[in-house]
Amino acid sequence: MNKALFRVVFSIVVLSMVLLGCSPKQETAVDVKLTLIDQAGITLTIPQPVERVISTYGPATSFIYAVGGGDRLVSASYLGARDPFGAMMMEKIDPNFREIQGDEFFSQEDFNLEHAASLNPDLIIVSSRSVWLESAAQLEIPIFQVFAETEETLKEAMLLTGEIFGSDAADQAAAWVDYYDEIVAGVQETTDRISLDQRVRVLFTGTEPLRVASGDMYQTSIIEAAGGISVSEELSGYWNDINLEQVAIWDPDVIIVPPYGGASVEAITESPEWQIIKAVQDGHVYRMPKLVVPWDTPAPDSVLGIVWMAQLLNPEIVDIDCKEEAAYFYNTFYEYQLTDEELTTICQFNVE
C-alpha cells in the first residue's frame, strides 16, 4: 500500500519541451515527451500526444474509455464483451468497437507481433502479467504495464492512464478517483456504525459454486467497502477451491456469484446439497451486475459494484441508489446515456 502511494506521489512527470532546429523564426516543431514510472516500476518515456494505442488488457481498455481515450484505440482486448449483452452494450458505447476489438490478437498469453507492428501504434498498454513482454519490446514502442488488482493500484492505474492521454484525460481520471472516494466514504460513514459481528457475511463464489474469492482479491475489498464481511477472507492467493462443509462452517448470509464464466445463481439454488446453507434457504443468492465490464473486477465500473452491494447488504441505512449512480457513472465516464429499462435491468438484485 505504501509502495503504491509512493509511486503515485513520486511518479515523475516531466514535460520537457525541446526545441528542434536552431532558428526561433522558423516553424517550431515541438516534441513533447512524458516520462513516468509504470506499475511494474519501469521508467518510460511516451511521446505526447498519444494517438494510436493498443490495449492488450481488458481492464486497461476500460481505464482508457473512462478517461475519454477510447477514440484513440487502434486495437484492444475487452473485458466482459464476449457475451452477447456485453458486446451489444459495448457497441452502443463505442460504434467502432467491432473494428478495433483485438481479443484474438492480444491477451495476457498472446501478442501478435506482426499485427501489432502493422497497426503502427505509439503506445502499447499491457498487463504486467503478460507472458510475452520481452518479445514485444523488440518493436521499440513504449510499453506501459498495468497492475491494478487492489483499490490503491486501481486508482493509481486510472491516474497514470489519465496522464498518458493528456490533461483532459488527467482531469477525468482525477474526477473518477474523487467519485470513488466519495462513494466509499459515504457508505463507510453509515456502515461504520455497524459492529463487526452485526455485519452481513458474504461469500463471493467464482466460475464454479465451490470456487471462492480469496482475501487477497479485489472482490473482498468491494465487500468490505460495502460494509460487509467476506467469509473467505482467510484464504490467500487467487480463486480457491473449497468444499461445502467449509461453506457450512462459514455460514454466509449472502452468496454472490460473478457475471461471467458460466457462473449462475441456479447452479447453487437448484443444487440439493446447497440447500443446507442458510443463505440458500433464505434465497440470498445474487449475481453481481455488469454492463460491459463486470462490477466485481478492478476496473472503473467497480465503484458501482460497491454501490450495488452496499444497497444489497445494508438497504435500511445506506442512502444510495444504484440506478442513480449508474446513470451518472456511465454518462460521465463512458459518455453513454442508459435507458430507464437498462438501468432497471442492471441494478436489480435477482437478475437472469
Binding site: E208, R211, E245, Q275
Partner: protein
C-alpha cells in the same frame, strides 16, 4: 505388539480387510465442521433426514448424510478401483511399474473433461465426456496395436503411451485456448484430481461399475498369477492369455474411466498400492487382490481426509497422492529389494 499379532498371517489379513471400515468410520467423523463422534453415529443410524434427532442441528445431519457420506464413499470406491486395476495391470503386463493409466485412459478422460469444461458446463456432462474419452483412448490404442502382427502386448503398451501423449497434447491445446479467468482454473483443478462437490448423484455409476468390477477381479484373481508368468506358461496351464487379457483390460478400463470421471486425474495410487500389498501379504494374487482393494480404499479415504480437512481450501488429490505416494514407493522399493 502389533507385529506380534501380525506374525499370524490370518490376523494380518483380517486387519487389512477391516481397514477400509475402520478408516471409513474415522473419516466420517472428520471434517472442518465440528460434529461429535456420537452425533455422527446417531445421524448415520437415523433414517428420517433430521426429523428424528431434534437435538442435533439440521445442517450437521445434512452435512453428514449428503456431503460427507457420498464423498467418503466416492474416495473408497475410487481407491478400491485403482487398487484392483493397478494390481491386475501389473500382473498381466508382467511389470510392477505400470498401473491402469498405461493404456491412456486417464489422458483420454482428462481431455474429455477439459473439452466439456470448455464447451459445456454441467457437472454430469463433464463426467460423461471424461468417461467416454477415457474409453476412446484405450480403444484407439487397441486399434493401433492391431496394425502390427507381433507381440501384441508390447505394441499395445507402446500404443497406449502414444495415444496417452496425444491426448495430453490435445489437453494442453485446450488449456492454451481456455479463458484464463474461468475455464483454465477449472481444467487445471480437474487435472489435479478432486472429490469436491461429490453428491449422491455423481457416485451411482461409479458405485455400480466399481462393485461389479471388484467382484470380477476377485473371481479371476488366481488367473492373474498364471498370466503374470507369461503367455506360453499360461497356455501350458490351460489359460488362454489373449482372451483373458482382453477381458481384463476392458474391465479395468471401464473401472478406471468411471473412477477418473468422478475424481479427476489421480496418479500413483494404482502403482503404489500393489507394492504395499505385496510387502504385506506377498505376490500371490489370491490374497494380494483383496488386500490391494482394501488398501487402495483406505489410502484414498485418508488422502481425501487430508485434502478436505487440512486447509480451508481444498488440496488437489493428485498433488497429495504424488507427494505421499512417491516417498512411500521409494521406501517400499528399498524394503523389497529381492524382487517383487
Amino acid at each position: 505388539m502389533l507385529n506380534k499379532i501380525f506374525e499370524r498371517k490370518g490376523w494380518k489379513l483380517t486387519f487389512i480387510l477391516l481397514l477400509p471400515l475402520i478408516i471409513f468410520i474415522i473419516s466420517i467423523m472428520l471434517g472442518r465442521y465440528n460434529i461429535g463422534p456420537f452425533d455422527v453415529i446417531r445421524i448415520l443410524f437415523s433414517t428420517g433426514l433430521g426429523e428424528g434427532l431434534p437435538d442435533i442441528p439440521n445442517i450437521a445431519q445434512q452435512l453428514i448424510l449428503r456431503i460427507r457420506l457420498p464423498r467418503i464413499l466416492a474416495a473408497l470406491l475410487v481407491g478400491a478401483s485403482f487398487g484392483a486395476t493397478g494390481t491386475a495391470f501389473q500382473a498381466i503386463f508382467k511389470n510392477p511399474l505400470v498401473d491402469s493409466n498405461i493404456l491412456g485412459v486417464t489422458s483420454g478422460a482428462g481431455f474429455g473433461a477439459s473439452l466439456a469444461i470448455l464447451l459445456l458446463s454441467e457437472q454430469w456432462q463433464i463426467q460423461v465426456s471424461a468417461f467416454i474419452f477415457g474409453l476412446l483412448a484405450v480403444f484407439l490404442a487397441f486399434l493401433g496395436s492391431r496394425l502390427y502382427k507381433s507381440t501384441p502386448i508390447l505394441v499395445l503398451t507402446l500404443m497406449g503411451i502414444l495415444i496417452g501423449s496425444l491426448f495430453s497434447s490435445l489437453t494442453a491445446l485446450l488449456k492454451y485456448v481456455a479463458d484464463p479467468l474461468d475455464a483454465l482454473p477449472a481444467i487445471t483443478f480437474w487435472l489435479l484430481g478432486s472429490l469436491t462437490g461429490i453428491t449422491w448423484d455423481n457416485i451411482g455409476v461409479l458405485g455400480v461399475v466399481t462393485i461389479i468390477g471388484v467382484i470380477f477381479f476377485m473371481m479371476i484373481r488366481w488367473r492373474l498369477n498364471i498370466l503374470s508368468l507369461g503367455d506360453s506358461e499360461a497356455k501350458t496351464l490351460g489359460i488362454n492369455p489373449t482372451s483373458n487379457k482382453v477381458i481384463i483390460i476392458i474391465a479395468a478400463t471401464l473401472m478406471t474411466a468411471a473412477a477418473v470421471s468422478v475424481s479427476g486425474v489421480i496418479g500413483w495410487v494404482g502403482l503404489v498400492i500393489p507394492h504395499a500389498g505385496r510387502l504385506l501379504v506377498g505376490p500371490n494374487h489370491k490374497s494380494l487382490l483383496p488386500v490391494s482393494v482394501c488398501l487402495g480404499a483406505a489410502y484414498m479415504m485418508i488422502i481425501d481426509d487430508i485434502a478436505r480437512t487440512l486447509l480451508p481450501g481444498e488440496i488437489p488429490l493428485g498433488v497429495l497422492t504424488g507427494l505421499i505416494g512417491v516417498p512411500i514407493l521409494i521406501i517400499l522399493m528399498r524394503r523389497n529389494r529381492t524382487g517383487w
